[in-house]
Amino acid sequence: MTYVITGESGDWEVVVGLEVHAQVISRAKLFSGAAADFGGAPNDHVSLVDAAMPGMLPVINWVCVEQAVRTGLGLKAQINTHSVFERKNYFYADLPQGYQISQFEEPIVGEGTVVLDMADGSERRIGIERLHMEQDAGKSMHDQDPSRTFVDLNRSGVCLMEIVSKPDIRSPEEAGAYVRKLRSILRYLGTCDGNMEEGSLRADVNVSVRPVGSDELRTRAEIKNVNSVRFVMQAIEHEAERQIDVYEAGGEVIQETRHYDANAGTTRASRAKEFAHDYRYFPDPDLLPVVLTDDEVAAIKAALPELPDEKRERFIADYGLSTYDAVVLVAERETADFFEAVAKGRDGKQAANWISNELFGALNKLDLDITDSPISAEALGKLLDLIAADTISGRAAKAVFQAMLDAPGSDPVAIVAEKGLTQITDTGAIEAAVDQVIADNPEQAQDVRDGNDKAIGWFTGQVMQATKGKANPKAVNDLLRAKLRG
């Protein structure tokens, strides 16, 4: 699935690397005891440390360290048991210290891999360069007052993980798949809620282009703070086209920061003075190196949950699912858990079909997440049991499913009883109905006897109608054939 952009001079490909900023799930901030929750009244989640009052000092929240290690392990990455916090120095209104505490030369996590399952069934491996911890900045609001910018430090000091990919991504689709997969892994691990609307997950997208067949790395532009998967994909598309235009017009792409304007569908250069950036990193003398023992890392590893890739393999092996179904079902941990609750001790393929087709379709229409499903896994399981026991027909099952959707929390067994949908398995009753229909339709019966197979289907429909759908269609069919064909 190669992504090629045809320009005037020939074919081009994109080279993309992503820096994803993921907010760590923790109660308190990285270096202070103020709440890390999203929202809150202005400057309410702010300690003296976050406001960088004179003499205030950072003390590390160890849970944030564990979350970073957990994430590193989930990315199959190297864990550095000795890592160092440094200061990244620059001035901005919402950066109270005048520096961001981050990791630079010695990050806590080194190289790892994310496996992408592409829509065409192929697999792509995207390298992780590193993961480091850092503080988030506060928030500047420029539109509240004609002459002033307002600053809220609630976000200041919240722990972020910056996850840097290698420039292995070659298409907008891969970039989208990468962000979705990363988000899935983080959510499985419980280290980031992945909420892109609230900014818990946002990406800086590094884009460059090169002629197809070349392996050079050309100058890249960095598109900052892109906050949805769709925008990541669009931004790459637009930026790649812009760069190709520049090259084909004989120009040079310059290394710069750009912003994606979703309304205009373009990227634009940032107005910040790029030349002035000189972050003057140096180890933060207020903090000691972060040192972990191998045992601590091993303990975190031992407690890791099953991750999407392993779960996918297990679903294929244990439940006989297709790769496609397995990939769809493991994307969200909640969906996977729902599936397992339904599939346990039942026909896995059938469970997968009902969830992927009926349930997802219904949830989509209702705009609900699986966690808010009106039909619980237990209830759906019971419905499948009714089908398996031939208590109801497949057609009746769909009716029961609809009734379950309409009355959240309802019991399929009760619905079947109430609506009288129990399948007629008594051959005597079915035979009576068959005889009646044949007697009522002598012409059509003769048709069948003359060899018209289609007409058997017509008879089946008539019998089903006569039994209000409760007759077992196979039994009806068998009887019809026996009686009309001898």
Binding site: P54, G55, Y92, P96, Q97, Y99, R280, P285, L287, L288
Partner: protein, 493 residues
């Protein structure tokens, strides 16, 4: 009342326990002395009402049998680098105009909780950057000591206000901070004791930061025992400071009573400077003799990288300062000088708010960290620092403590030595190495020079061995019998 202000902390504590006088009387005597010594400019802010309230509370505690020990009811001065809740805190900088913390530094809180009575916030070099206390936005501090030419003398720095206040009997003790000698050097120049404990012994939380890897709080007092008492109240692990050491605080006062029989004292050959007065060399020899007379064994040792400590310091300290002082930006506290844009507001605020020396150091620090220079300067200096520490580590395999002069000169006039920054930096040449290695050091007044000005001797000990430091310092103190007082106090020099 002059008798009260002449007391040591130890003696005053005994007097308070015996009911000879009240903490309120003791405090009032010091407030009176402060009022009469305005010319020294020791204080940026005086807190007489707060002091009297605390003194009365102390008296009530003692009366109720709830006394909190030797510091309870003792009037002390607080270097204006310690944030004090509800009391203006300036770091002697224009940029902290009007800054009234809503919090109390750990060290000042510990002293308060031990019953100490804060009488005011003392003057200092702006952001503790200086060795003469002439860079304060609130004007220079005068040394209570004088010489024949009658010129105003500097008290040293940066804890110059604290040093002069203790030397002039305006406080029984004062807090200081020592980044490159800011406790020990002014103690030497004002004839008092100044102790810098091991890095990590006192919490830095709530102290306006200068250079985080070097800053340490410590006491300035008139006797070694008083320093031991006061440090005991200041020290201790603080979970709010990641660099605060989780080690127990021993009874330093007990250590002062120990003898030095068999103590191995190293005399580092490198602690000398071209043009250093002979008197200082002779005093150093004398100190060695004093210790030997009391049973110590002295031996020459070498700390080969000593001469590089000062230049390395002048990379590391400004680098850290350039970053630590970035928070003074006119946004959340202190001075704001308006500008048309955010950047202009920053530049105006910091251009006007910081004095010349602070600007110089911030610029140097910015330069040595900037792209292309980091390895050549900052990283190199931190490597040199490792070598300096290694020097000390190997020396302490052979000896228990080191003896050297505190400063290469006595107090100088305010109009001397100020033009060339590098010449000025040399004031700290003997004190900086201990900061670079995080080691405890103490200056003890030992003699007067030919001009009648005090000179100190310094003891440096291994990390977290302040007890041995106090033991050796007490031996020097006993032998020196330094009982001179500045002429303005009626003493004769």
């Amino acid at each position: 009342m002059s008798a009260l202000i002449d007391l040591t902390i130890a003696a005053a504590a005994a007097g308070l326990d015996a009911g000879d006088f009240s903490a309120e009387e003791l405090t009032q005597a010091h407030l009176d002395a402060m009022a009469a010594a305005g010319d020294l400019n020791c204080f940026i802010t005086e807190t007489p009402e707060l002091a009297l309230d605390r003194a009365r509370a102390s008296d009530a505690r003692r009366k109720a049998g709830d006394g909190r020990g030797a510091m309870d009811g003792i009037p002390i001065a607080m270097k204006d680098l310690f944030c004090t809740e509800g009391v203006l805190t300036t770091a002697a900088s224009h940029i902290l105009d009007g800054f009234t913390p809503t919090y109390e530094s750990t060290v000042s809180a510990k002293l308060r909780d031990a019953g100490a009575v804060m009488t005011g916030k003392t003057n200092l070099d702006e952001f503790a950057m200086g060795s003469s206390n002439t860079t304060s936005y609130y004007g220079p501090v005068k040394n209570p000591w004088t010489r024949a030419d009658g010129k105003d003398l500097v008290p040293g720095g940066s804890s110059g206000g604290s040093a002069s206040a203790v030397a002039a009997r305006l406080a029984m003790g004062a807090t200081g901070t020592d980044t490159g000698g800011s406790i020990r050097q002014p103690a030497s120049l004002t004839g008092i004791v100044g102790a810098k404990p091991t890095y990590g012994r006192c919490s830095r939380w709530g102290i306006v930061a200068f250079a985080s890897s070097l800053d340490q709080a410590g006491p300035l007092t008139r006797t070694v025992e008083d320093a031991a008492i006061m440090l005991g109240a200041m020290a201790g692990h603080d979970p709010k400071d990641s660099t605060s050491a989780p080690v127990a605080v021993p009874d330093f006062r007990v250590a002062c009573a120990g003898d030095v029989k068999g103590l191995k004292v190293g005399i580092p050959a490198e602690y000398t400077l071209d043009g250093m007065p002979d008197e200082i060399t002779r005093l150093w020899e004398q100190g060695r003799a004093w210790l030997e007379e009391q049973g110590a064994v002295t031996r020459p040792i070498s700390l080969p990288h000593t001469k590089y400590a000062l230049p390395a310091y002048y990379i590391v300290a400004p680098a850290e300062a350039s970053s630590n002082l970035a928070r003074y930006d006119g946004v959340r506290f202190g001075l704001r000088v308006p500008g048309d844009s955010l950047d202009e507001m920053y530049e105006n605020t910091r251009g006007e708010g910081f004095g010349t020396e602070v600007q110089r150091r911030v610029l140097i620090g910015t330069y040595v960290l900037s792209a292309g220079y980091y390895d050549a300067y900052y990283r190199k200096a931190q490597r040199v620092r490792t070598r300096i520490l290694d020097d000390f580590t190997s020396a302490f395999q052979d000896v228990d403590v080191l003896l050297m002069p505190t400063a290469p000169n006595a107090a100088f006039a305010m109009d001397e030595k100020q033009d060339d920054p590098v010449q000025m930096y040399l004031n700290d040449i003997f004190t900086v190495p201990a900061n670079m290695a995080g080691l405890p050091g103490i200056s003890v007044p030992a003699a007067l020079d030919k001009d009648g000005l005090p000179l100190g001797l310094q003891i440096v000990a291994p990390a977290f061995d302040e007890e041995t430091m106090f033991r050796a310092a007490s031996a020097i103190e006993r032998a020196a019998g330094f009982d001179h007082v500045p002429a303005r106090l009626g003493g004769e020099s």
